[in-house]
Symmetry: C2
């Protein structure tokens, strides 16, 4: 049996594109065997409220009907050949008023000459962090198998393989019982997934797949979605395990098609044996139970991790800009590390993109910008071959200051005077964006976002946040990695100079915040791991710093509420899966 | 039996305040009888991720322990008196690692001399629109009754009374079966709620309560939360039904305490009889099934509705600013109806507030602001007794234009030149906010928000949106109502003049959008009712307008993503319960 894993990407709701992909891919009868497509391949994922939208449903059902008609008529030519497609999609049942009564996340079977039909419904609906499938879908009520070329194939969809405390049933165990009760044995178990990327997730997937493969004594085929949807990256990396090993892995962050004969189950040797443990993946995603973590420092990103993150960010920017039909980018450079890294990532994107991409940098010096900031920005842009425009804000800043003092008969100083520079830069980079039709990318990092060390409508502007899931220390790791890979393309002083917002004389971040090497581990422990401020103080962190940071996180919720989507690269990000009320008592130790 | 309904408000997580309220209220032994408190009274609602936060849990459990200790020791003095408190709260079960294994939304019983104990768990967990209780809570597994002064009391929490297609069990029917199986009869059924306000909801609650009261043949007591939490308004309006009538209703939008003897069940007469129908409240909230609605015009708001909405908005602003410790407001006046209405609402708030509130208006004329806009703003502020400062942006605007043309050697015109004025105003009103420590309120309406007719970081700025759940035609209704109630406090020309953003010569909204009397019904039909563009065209709307509006809604998601919380007054708002991906194919008829 030939096994084909289609790791392809289409825009959410691109029914025309999906129809075309299927009909052209299968028109000439070259491809035989079993063809697997990701979860919700036929609609895109995540759909959120589109699932309920009437015009979406009408278009989708018309598309499903077209597929059936195509399969019954054109595809019929291959009726005597051994070919079957298993595709993720939705089924709808309506009540008498035409309102969706039941919506299921299913595996569709498409065979030559036959109508399309649903053969399995997802049973475990994730409803934690950014997932909210219980809001939209009705779970399936039992296991299902599918027979092809005299082989028995066990069916799973994404979360079905991730049994944990959070779920009442274990679809993998159910499948095993079902097979045993019917005196059957699986020749293959498949999982159609749309599994969002975060650092380290592929290892978890492969480890779990091996466990299941050994538990069911058959190979395991995992087909994952690829491509970015706003904040979510789907990394692909579809793979097949034969029980003892991962025999093949598809590309990361790219479309791919794996085609291979069904491998034989290979009993693991002693070192390869894994026991089926209750999985703690979803559990960790909510609670991050790594209580034993060393909270006093943040792990440095390894080179492979830096590579992976940069690739994820490139995909995130690329897909977001393609889908929103923009190919120009304007970046406000400050001479600091964050905006530098964003520009370098854009440059990497431009170099490999299949479409023309235009990049430009704008440096907007104010009264407190050092000449070094300009020089470093200039050198960087020279190295990257990107045009830099200097757009000084001093005169405009003065004009505002004078006008304010005249109109309000009051001084214009301190916070107001600092923030107006940042907001002016926000307005001006958007003026440029409006003038040339470019996209502005946000350059804030996760450390700033966590403690609200940013100006709302100032440096917080942008269509998409590139670094918002990376602490300042990690931005530092990435910058060093870039310089190691690309011959010091980043002027060294950008990396070594003290971080500053340059909004007042001799300002440095450390005047307002603990140094990042102390700030970042506290943030990670409070936000992603399961520590309370008191725990951290007991573990040796300075109590005044822990208390201050905890307070700053709590009172800066209103800024994050108005922030743009953040490309997610970690288990816990400030995206859709992070939900905290703005108004509340703050909890100090 | 004396029945007491405590409709009180405390900040989320204000355990100290809640402890103080309980211990002082019950210290002198004056209050006898049964005391009912809203759902999650002991924690606040909605908590979102705070439910899982370690320091929140630790503080909460310490507070519950303190309550038990107080009850066992001090409150013990009233042991021989007939008194019991039923309060909404949370229970936690942890696994061996100290991670929450099960979290339940419960009714706690507090009796003199006894430890506090949970006696019922909420069974129906709403998970639609802005609700996501299945994300955090485990549902209860059956009905419960409570005995007090030889009376049998049936227990329900909020959604438990709202059985619909969405739920698998009906707690009201369960309760009835439970009573019958035990040969018992209820003397009272209670519902502890935290039910968010929207226009018309109280009627639904009372109608449903009467149905249940008649079904169970006993009085029904409904205790609701009051106060605002970011976008959500809890309106209070706790009430008691005796089966035939609503015998008492607590204040709307205010704290209140109802105390009354338990009424006798009064069998309804022919006109009062209601049958227990499957409820369509939650169903409507998701799907808005009013397919028979007249889509060609939007219902005009009646006077009572105008009054109710204005009270809701006042509460929303008041609680948000109290909780975020701000008592000054700066409003950017444009001479148009939206900013005018926001200023009037603030004035109404100031007049009744128990704390000093400072208001100021800022008019920021540009090249295209008419002198009429200033004159009208001036007259309005005179009428309201609010200081108006004029802060012209022409010179700054010119300075930016010149600098841009110099630096980029390119023209500065069209969209860039229009939007910079709006962004400059956004930056300047926030400069003022920074200088005096005031809150900026957003003045956008729902029509603009829907079609993205606003400038991101420009007129879209603000801490809280006052009118974001009201279409322009409704803002018009409210302005007329205000003038009728308050002797034409709004200069009439503000209401009668053609809406304009005044960002270019002779600009009017109708140059970009259909007139609001045609735009608003289309928006309501697409966003809140269950119509597709094609339905609307069939019903007689102009097809080019429907197609354009549908497209504008779809492509402006990125602006709403970065918008502030919107005070919710309708069943469907652009708040937390509205979730649509930014990147997607748009669906046209």
């Amino acid at each position: 049996m030939q096994l084909n894993l289609h790791q392809t990407h289409h825009e959410i709701g691109d029914f025309e594109g999906i129809f075309k992909y299927l009909t052209t891919t299968f028109q000439d009868g070259r491809l035989k065997g079993l063809h697997l497509f990701p979860e919700l391949f036929l609609t895109g994922y995540p759909l959120q409220d589109l699932v309920l939208k009437k015009s979406f449903i009408e278009d989708y059902l018309a598309f499903i009907n077209d597929l059936s008609v195509w399969s019954e008529r054109q595809f019929k030519a291959q009726k005597n050949e051994s070919i079957a497609l298993l595709l993720g999609g939705l089924t709808y049942q309506f009540d008498t008023m035409g309102i969706p009564l039941q919506i299921e996340n299913v595996i569709y079977l498409l065979e030559p000459g036959e109508k399309i039909k649903a053969i399995y419904t997802k049973q475990l609906l994730p409803n934690y962090d950014l997932y909210e499938e219980k809001k939209y879908f009705t779970p399936g009520s039992g296991p299902a198998i599918f027979s092809f070329e005299n082989k028995t194939i066990g069916l799973l969809i994404c979360e079905d393989m991730w049994f944990s405390h959070l779920h009442e049933i274990d679809p993998v165990e159910q499948l095993k019982n079902h097979l045993e009760n019917n005196n059957m044995h699986c020749d293959l178990v498949i999982n159609l997934s749309a599994s969002p990327y975060h650092l380290g997730k592929q290892e978890q997937r492969m480890a779990r797949a091996m466990e299941i493969s050994q538990y069911l004594q058959c190979p395991f085929a995992y087909v994952n979605r690829v491509g970015a949807e706003d904040e979510i990256i789907f990394d692909g990396q579809s793979f097949v395990s034969d029980g003892a090993n991962i025999v093949v892995v598809a590309k990361m962050f790219k479309s791919d098609l794996l085609s291979l004969p069904l491998p034989k189950f290979s009993p693991p040797n002693k070192d390869q044996i894994r026991s089926l443990t209750i999985n703690s993946n979803s559990w960790n995603t909510i609670f991050n139970t790594r209580l034993s973590a060393d909270t006093l420092k943040l792990n440095q990103l390894k080179n492979e991790e830096c590579h992976e993150i940069i690739e994820a960010l490139i995909l995130g920017i690329d897909d977001y800009s393609i889908k929103n039909r923009i190919s120009k980018f304007s970046i406000a450079l400050s001479g600091g590390m964050d905006s530098t890294l964003v520009l370098v990532i854009l440059k990497l994107l431009k170099e490999r993109a299949m479409r023309p991409i235009e990049l430009e940098a704008v440096f907007m010096p104010g009264f407190f910008s050092s000449s070094l900031s300009y020089d470093l920005s200039y050198d960087l842009c020279q190295n990257l071959g990107i045009k830099l425009t200097s757009f000084p804000i001093k005169f405009i800043h003065s004009a505002i200051k004078n006008a304010y003092q005249d109109c309000f008969r009051d001084k214009f100083e301190n916070l107001a005077d600092e923030n107006i520079q940042s907001r002016l830069r926000g307005a001006l980079i958007y003026a440029r964006s409006n003038a040339v039709g470019s996209m502005v990318l946000n350059t804030s990092n996760k450390s700033e976002l966590s403690v609200g060390y940013s100006t709302l409508y100032g440096d917080s502007v942008g269509a998409l946040s590139v670094l918002g899931d990376l602490y300042k220390s990690e931005v530092f790791n990435l910058a060093l990695y870039i310089n190691q890979q690309y011959k010091n393309i980043i002027p060294k002083e950008i990396i070594s100079r003290a971080p500053s917002a340059e909004l007042r004389e001799n300002q440095e971040d450390v005047q307002s915040l603990p140094p990042y090497e102390r700030l970042d581990p506290i943030l990670e422990a409070l936000l992603s791991l399961r520590f309370s401020p008191l725990d951290l103080i007991k573990k040796g962190h300075r109590s005044e710093e822990v208390i201050k940071i905890n307070h700053l996180i709590s009172i800066s919720e209103y800024k994050r509420k108005q922030f743009c989507p953040i490309i997610k690269v970690k288990p816990k990000s400030f995206g859709f899966g992070y939900r905290v009320p703005i108004s509340k008592k703050t909890f100090n130790p």
